[in-house]
């Protein structure tokens, strides 16, 4: 697949946006400026970026507890994201959802999710609605390797195939379900082996290679859009930080050498090498992207810090939709 310069630079830009947002969030957490839990997406940027560049604005995605990257890749606004992480009223969820429930329905992003595997049945519902309306929209369910062990995933995958829905199951296999390695929790090596059991095709891609992810996603999305049903993509990837928080080395459950090995395959830096080598972008152009986005993220932090906290009436607001407001 020959990608235009525009698409190639878009892939890069989305990954850098995710990296900068997550690194900033990590620093803020370290400084005790973020309440609650923080699951960082650093290391997995190629997956969300490669998939979301294959989607239209009105396509839908469901996400996970590690969800910031998906929202950024779908076009999420730094200011509102950072404000949400700080629990401010200007956040995406008015400070009532936080990191684990960050969402933007206007971008088709149906929410990060604190329950492992729970997004997939919801993506099935979005895919059903898309087929029902017949406007050619598709849905993508992002989930991790661990989520394929929970019943909700099985029900969703089976139902999507039984109803022949326009959906892509995008598995981010980072080899660990929280703090336990994959080989302790399942007897297979490749998640993609499960696809055949539901009657859908599946492919394995290098989740550190944004072009490979993009190409696989483009094919899967096209398949869904033309009415040929669900498929599964297994992206082999790795989170550079701990399950939550910002530690990366000296963790009891995964060896430092393994972390170092995966970091050598950093999806952004390796892609930048490729862009320069192919003459698609100069080192200066790439640095300019980082500089521009660093400015954006600093502005977002300032915006969030200066934003007001929610007013007390917000405890009871938004529990129900009122008839008059509909």
């Amino acid at each position: 697949m020959e990608l235009s310069t525009e698409v190639q630079m878009d892939l890069h830009r989305r990954m850098v946006r995710i990296r900068l947002f997550e690194e900033a969030a990590g620093r803020l957490a370290e400084a005790a400026k973020l309440p609650g839990f923080l699951h960082l997406y650093v290391g997995e940027e190629a997956v969300a970026s490669g998939v979301c560049t294959a989607l239209n604005d009105d396509d839908h995605i469901t996400s996970t507890h590690r969800g910031h990257g998906h929202l950024v890749a779908k076009g999420g606004d730094f200011n509102r994201m950072m404000a949400e992480l700080m629990g401010k009223s200007t956040g995406y969820c008015k400070g009532k959802g936080g990191s684990m429930h960050i969402s933007d329905l206007s971008l088709g992003m149906l929410g990060a999710n604190g329950i492992v595997g729970a997004g997939s049945p919801i993506a099935v519902g979005a895919a059903f609605a898309n087929k029902y309306r017949g406007r050619g929209q598709v849905a993508v369910a992002f989930f991790g390797d661990g989520a394929t062990n929970i019943g909700a995933f099985h029900e969703a995958a089976n139902m999507a195939c039984a109803l022949h829905l326009p959906i892509v199951f995008a598995c981010e296999n980072n080899e660990y379900g929280e703090f336990t390695p994959r080989d302790k929790t399942m007897a297979i090596t490749d998640i993609v082996d499960r696809a055949a059991g539901y009657g859908m095709p599946g492919v394995i891609v290098d989740g550190m290679d944004v072009v490979a992810v993009h190409e696989a996603a483009t094919e899967a999305v096209a398949r869904a859009r033309r009415g040929d049903g669900p498929s599964l993509i297994e992206a082999k990837t790795y989170r550079f930080y701990n399950h939550h928080g910002i530690r990366n080395l000296g963790l009891s459950y995964r060896p430092d050498e393994e972390v170092a090995e995966w970091k050598r395959r950093d999806p952004i830096f390796s892609y930048e090498g490729h862009l320069i080598e192919a003459g698609t972008a100069s080192a200066e152009q790439i640095e300019a992207v980082w500089e521009e986005l660093r400015t954006d993220i600093e502005a977002a932090i300032t915006f969030a810090e200066e934003s007001p906290v929610p007013t007390p009436d917000q405890v009871l607001a938004d529990v129900y939709t009122l008839r008059s407001a509909s």
Binding site: H60, Y92, A118, V124, A126, A152, E155, A156
Partner: protein
Amino acid sequence: MSSSVNEPSRPTEGRKLGYVMAFNEAVRQSMEADADVFCAGEDIGAFGGVFGTFGGLQKIFGPDRVVDTPISEQAIVGLGIGAAATGLRPIVDLMFMDFICVAMDQIVNQAAKLKYMFGGTAKLPLTITTTGGAGLSAAAQHSQSLEAILCHIPGLKVVYPSNAYDMKGLMRACILEDNPTVMVKHKRLLGTTSIVPEDLYEIPLGKAAIVREGTSVTVVAYGRMVAEAVAAAEQLAADGIECEIVDPRTLQPFDTETVVNSVRKTNRAVVVHEAVRFGGLGAEIAAQIQEEAFDYLDAPVGRVGAPFSPVPFSPTLESLYVPDAASISAGIRAVVARPLVGA
């Protein structure tokens, strides 16, 4: 607010229709009125649902709008959530109320909270229909009354009609709701009939009905227990005990005002439900009555409910287990007979 909806006055003559067909008619007419309404669930298509609740609908609307699903309660509710969040108005069916337990994450952690967690940006016009209650010797996994669990969850609404007229109007209201709503049918009411208007009408959620007026004691009952309470009231009337029976119809939001106004008049109250007494909705209703009308009470609020055991299978045991007119009468007599202190 739903309170802005005016309930039509209940007709005293006209066509009689069964509880099941009142449900079916509300669904059919709502699907005719709005192309965004669809149904999904186990065996609801060609088969028409195990109790015939969706009978004939697939023939009218086709398999894309009346969808047979796998036996996958989590995915059925998830299907409804995803479709509702992206603009449709789904009705998803969980065959038996016991099966909500299988779908609890999607109901409690997802549907109920989505709007709130997303800062109000999501609208979830989702109706979950199910069939609860004992009385068919269906044993402990097909007979439960789990409504108190649902009423405990902010974000859900819970409706439990006691007759065919309320069924049609409340089901219409559920479909028009922009919030996740659980509509519970009682399996022993399926064959009961009442006068039901042919046109669509809406009974506002959160509005109780006074089923029988009386001055001696307020009896709060819902679902199948309404008919049993009415039978009990007829027996008690012979002894000069006049029961005022209040059917909340919607359990969440609960119409505390109507109940409390009645208690202020009668000064005594008994709450009746088929669910086990401990932690049942009766505990909440009794607490609200004492909070709002303590000075009007001449006796502690009585509770009639099932004992603290699973629902037994044997018809002999099951009939002992489920409250009926006789046990409700006994519960009411105990509250009415209590003398005033110092009297």
